[in-house]
Symmetry: C2
Subunit: 199 residues, 2 copies
DNA sequence: GGTTTATCTGAACATCCGTTCAGATCAAGG
DNA sequence: CCTTGATCTGAACGGATGTTCAGATAAACC
């Protein structure tokens, strides 16, 4: 018995990635076996190799896709350059919180499993991460140039900003006391003060 | 042939914990075998069981010790309550950065390996973490009561503060461009603005 | 210096791991 | 309706896993 009824590459492929992402986030890459992923999909372990050359590449593709989605989504959401830096920073703040809380598993995996990437794959993901940090840094530098932000160390402030915002993922739950919009506002209030010229 | 020359519980015990912490931080709990820890210590895998009942307890003890050290160190470093909230927040900021950058491995493990703890152990570590968050929250509430801080959501702000400060660990390297003291000052500058009354 | 005892070795246990592959199965195309 | 080819099964591979334990060793004590 092989090839169950209604089996298709279009269906199984995404399901493999979804199951892998969920299980990697829950238990960690090293703790999740190919057999467990296969069981989640409802398939034998061997079948996974129609969709990934190996386990490492499966992890890498999940992380690369997440980072590329993040960068593309910000490019699409970023206000026009002629808009002020303050508006850009507010947009970045709200975008980051909204995007990341909606993909908690991918965010978690992309940060936690860096050490399980082979060096070549690690460098790719690190490069994408640096691109995102640089986007945040550019906003801060623009604000300084406009005379609206007081930021002594823009690169450090950019990383501090991203750490601050990503922290939302550790506690935020839908149906909690605060809506996502309210959380965004609370954080934007903190971010605004953090970089403001008149302290 | 057993019991190598000069072997002692006082020596091997700490070395087991050091090796485990280092390797867990580097590769992750699930990816590090008891044999690898033993090899790092220069001993056979069986000998580790003189120092821990099992691998899970070894991880748990490392995390519990770290969290207890953190809480005890802050209790010792915290300024007297009659000191103002601003001074307490500066002390907290500098303390957190200094303490955590000096124990990067333990910080990393205590955050990354939460999901590899059995439920009972997880609850213990979570409780300790909450205690620390509550200490930060108390400072913010005091500042609000004193009329010096403007913080709409003290619990959220406390977690945001900790996420912001812990982020230093992802990029800080000794012998980098900035000394630890300079980094503390950069962050304290951001924290001060973040909670300041006049934004 | 002989005895005790903490400490460690080396082998064994059942179980799981990632990956491969021949062969079975079934949806689609002619 | 028959053929083709994509998809999946089930078994197998060598090797690694956490843990146990009888026996060997050497430091500490009398």
């Amino acid at each position: 018995m092989a090839r169950t009824q209604g089996s298709h590459s279009d269906i199984t492929g995404p399901r493999v990635r979804e199951a892998a992402l969920r299980l990697f986030a829950l238990h960690g890459y090293a703790a999740v076996s190919m057999r467990k992923i296969a069981a989640e999909v409802g398939v034998q372990a061997g079948a996974l190799y129609n969709y990934t050359p190996d386990k490492q590449t499966l992890l890498f593709d999940l992380m690369r896709t997440h980072m590329e989605d993040l960068l593309a989504a910000w490019e699409a959401a970023a206000p026009a350059p002629e808009t002020g830096a303050a508006a850009a920073l507010e947009a970045f703040t709200r975008f980051h919180i909204r995007f990341n809380t909606r993909r908690a598993d991918a965010v978690f995996v992309s940060y936690m499993e860096l050490r399980n990437l082979e060096p070549e794959n690690f460098n790719v993901i690190e490069g994408l991460r640096r691109d995102y940090e640089t986007a945040a840094e550019a906003i801060l530098r623009r604000g300084v140039a406009e005379g609206r932000f007081a930021v002594a160390e823009p690169r450090i402030a950019a990383m501090a900003l991203i750490a601050l915002l990503t922290g939302v993922n550790t506690w935020f739950r839908e149906r909690g006391r605060l809506s996502l919009g309210e959380v965004e506002t609370v954080y934007w209030d903190m971010v605004r003060r953090m970089v403001a010229n008149q302290g």
